[in-house]
């Protein structure tokens, strides 16, 4: 794992911070550098460091979180199938329009995961081949996993026609 971090540090100096948890490394990209660096960093991890498996893409909303600098985070969980090491790349994004480069050119499996993050958090992935909602109906207008979205929703549950017994 130190070799991986050294490789990244020489290629992307000052672009990220590193924290370690047990034998897993966490690479954090701040919102200023993430859009420019993220794709190249993932490509470097895949091609040069052997992290060939994208296990998951998840979104986090850090609204009202103690000590958080940026609002949205997208976490890429990468695994090295040869050495069983894992690395977590956390890229931040901010309002008004959070945007990050898509990882679909590197891993085809990122397509649905990024669609889910877009559906739930509204983070737009530039370069995604087919960025549509995947869980919510397509006419849904908000992003339900954001912390400022109310639990009961914004009234989306009641806009269907009511069928009375006489007309059915």
């Amino acid at each position: 794992m130190p070799a991986t971090i050294d490789t990244l540090t020489t290629k992307f100096p000052g672009a990220f911070t590193v924290s370690a948890f047990k034998d897993n490394a966490r690479v954090e990209l701040a919102a200023e550098t993430a859009p420019a660096v993220l794709f190249d960093l993932l490509k470097c991890l895949k091609d040069e460091c052997g992290f060939d498996f994208l296990a998951d893409v998840a979104g986090i909303d850090y609204l009202n979180y103690p000590g958080a600098a940026d609002r949205y985070a997208v976490v890429y969980a990468l695994a090295n199938t040869a050495t069983a090491q894992r690395v977590f790349v956390k890229a931040f994004a901010n309002d008004p329009d959070p945007e990050l480069p898509s990882a679909v050119p590197l891993w085809k499996g990122a397509e649905w995961m990024e669609r889910e993050v877009y559906d739930m958090f509204g983070v737009v992935f530039r370069g995604h081949p087919d960025l549509r909602r995947i869980l919510m109906p397509s006419e849904f207008t908000s992003y339900p996993l954001r912390k400022d979205y109310p639990l009961r929703g914004l009234g989306e549950r009641h806009n269907f026609p009511t069928i009375t017994r006489a007309e059915s």
Binding site: P66, P150, L151, G153, L154, R157, P161, R165, A166, S168
Partner: protein
């Protein structure tokens, strides 16, 4: 002289009565099972509880062959158009059982994706409380449907034409607005008690 000699040659009754009697003893359920209530529904159809004792064992998975829709389980926003379509595909006469707390009122799932009771969108005849209801309760609901069919049924299903108004629940005394939703930020460090929100 044989016993048949004492039987009357004809009976006088109402056609509606005969039609309802035939219908109520051969209800064909459409199991619209989306969640755990569906498991109870299957248990009701199994040998221990045996809904076939009441003539309702012919569960069909095509709405074209059914006349009793049993909505068992929570129904989410995306499922409502499907449910309505299946209901519209069922031939007359037809009835609907809303089984369990989720189908009847949303249950514990008062979240953005779950509708708070299918009776907001469908005409429901019998509600079954419980989470999930025991098979005996579902059998009771089938018996209630049978009673309703016998009491109100007509041979040409004209009793449904009178039900032209919305039959769902009236609004609560005070509907909770979206901004009144309960959002409680927890303390991420100790994960115990609520803290005052940061500004």
């Amino acid at each position: 002289m044989a016993m048949t000699g004492y039987l009357p040659d004809f009976l006088v009754t109402k056609l509606d009565y005969v039609a309802s009697m035939v219908r109520k003893h051969s209800l064909w359920p459409m199991p619209f099972a989306t969640a755990c209530c569906g498991i109870e529904l299957m248990a009701t159809a199994s040998s221990r509880y045996d809904i076939a004792r009441f003539g309702s064992e012919a569960m069909r998975f095509s709405p074209r062959q059914c006349d009793l829709m049993i909505v068992a389980g929570r129904v989410v926003m995306k499922m409502v158009p499907v449910m309505q379509r299946i209901w519209l595909q069922m031939p007359e006469p037809k009835w609907c059982i809303s089984m369990g707390a989720c189908a009847s009122s949303g249950g514990v799932f008062d979240a953005y994706a779950t509708v708070q009771g299918i009776d907001r969108f469908l005409p429901v005849d019998v509600y079954v409380p419980g989470c999930p209801p025991r098979p005996e309760q579902l059998i009771r609901a089938v018996l209630d449907i049978q009673e309703k069919v016998q009491r109100t049924g007509t041979i040409d299903a004209r009793e449904f034409a009178a039900r032209s108004a919305y039959e769902g629940p009236t609004a609560l005394a005070r509907e909770l607005g979206a901004e009144e939703a309960i959002v409680a930020p927890g303390d991420y460090r100790t994960a115990t008690r609520l803290r005052t929100p940061l500004n």
